[in-house]
Symmetry: C2
Amino acid sequence: MSIVVVGSVAFDDVTSPSGSVKNVLAGAATYFSLSASYFTEVRVVAVVGDDFGPEQEAVFHKRGIDIRGIERANGKTFRWGGTYTDNLNEAKTDFTHLNVFESFQPRIPKEFEDSDFLFLANIQPTLQAYVRRNMNHVRLTGCDTMNYWIKGTPKELAETLKLVDVLLINDTEAKMLAHETNLPRAAQKVLAMGPKALVIKHGEYGATIFFREGAFGIGRHPFRAPTLPIDEVKDPTGAGDSFAGGFMGYLASQKELNREVLKRALFYGGVMGSFAVERFGPERLQSLTRDEIDERFHIFRELTHLE
Amino acid sequence: MSIVVVGSVAFDDVTSPSGSVKNVLAGAATYFSLSASYFTEVRVVAVVGDDFGPEQEAVFHKRGIDIRGIERANGKTFRWGGTYTDNLNEAKTDFTHLNVFESFQPRIPKEFEDSDFLFLANIQPTLQAYVRRNMNHVRLTGCDTMNYWIKGTPKELAETLKLVDVLLINDTEAKMLAHETNLPRAAQKVLAMGPKALVIKHGEYGATIFFREGAFGIGRHPFRAPTLPIDEVKDPTGAGDSFAGGFMGYLASQKELNREVLKRALFYGGVMGSFAVERFGPERLQSLTRDEIDERFHIFRELTHLE
């Protein structure tokens, strides 16, 4: 089934202990769509400037991604620069030039309106809600957000949370959103805000999915997918969006949403996140095979599997 | 089979967001021995002062723990006071009175010399090495340490690491010991210092065991045991020692050390750590049943188990 992602396409400058790159094609919608493209049909809604040309289009086209929803605006594409030092979990932002992204008004092409799955990447909550309300055929909506919106636009975010099925955020964001330092209690408070399920990403330790009582008809016991820490994290940028792409992409590839499918989706999320960080930018996500993905899925499964 | 633990017995004052307690029986050897007592025969080597009386003895005796190795010295028992605020992973130390522990010289009673397993809790590395060299029948030695010794007595610690089979430390300690911020690379460097296996404890995310090539004849793929975050962490003190007690205690209860046994031991470690933090001091570890332990083992197993 098809999935629409609404979010940023950007050019990044990234420096980490492993080196640096400039002007690399990035942004949440890029990481998400490349990652999800190994599982299902992906459609992108975003905005770019006149510096986005055939070279960038080819990155999406090679993975069969439909970019008819990428709007061309006058000006430059969103640009971000960041530096990672020893703590690879946190980037120091060197610059943020929103450029054409500043006045982004997502428009869903007619051809995308029949999509079954929707992922609202980290953009202004009011825009997320607007998109969700205009996609009437969607069976399941995933959503990301960040500290900036949790603190800055809590009311708007609360409205959006009522419209989404699965929220995917990290530990810090979950605790901030719930005003609660204990993770399971924070999860219950977030679920009370609207989502049926909450995926909390733990960085190199994996992710846990918490369910609202009765959601998906599968009971409320949480489930954890571990990740195997890898020997060299070159660039953590986009790990969360790649995780979301694996998770949502796998869900969209399945006929039924049951507990086992959601569990496997969480593992695939971790797998795609771990591939993303192996190279700078989304390079690794452009050259994978489904066999490589499934091989790592089995390694992650073995990591915690008791006979 | 029997296991000897050498470490501290103390009285703690603890304050956390859930309340506070004073003069509660604690210390690494206490948490470890209570935890391990659900799996195997436990023998304690420690030192206490004249404030340690029948009430404290009864805590050990009720769990069938052999305390003939607890020396009585003139003076007061080790006392520690700490406060946990919102970050439950780190205590602010309010006071440390080493008292009789300051001149602790571990003496192994004759009756303990035939023990099969040994756990060297967090004490001065030279004392750990001394104990290990005087226990000739030991099949497997586990060891803990901390930042204080990693920074302060690195040469002495290096000597001790050559004598132990399994080192159990946390992420920060592993990275500090290896001078390496990447966890899998840090693990390989620590294993090169001597231990056959390294257990890295990740707090609420569980623990990973890394193996030296060829150790225990089981290959070098790491294994992870997750923990389920619990709704209220009252007192994180002793979680690591309780983890070690579950891990080592389960190993000592098994005839053979193979990969599956080591995996299950890691899960039991997480289970015992999660019980320890539910109440102040080691209270919860005094009132468990093996059924409760195994029930939580199965919950933790289900947490990551794919069909």
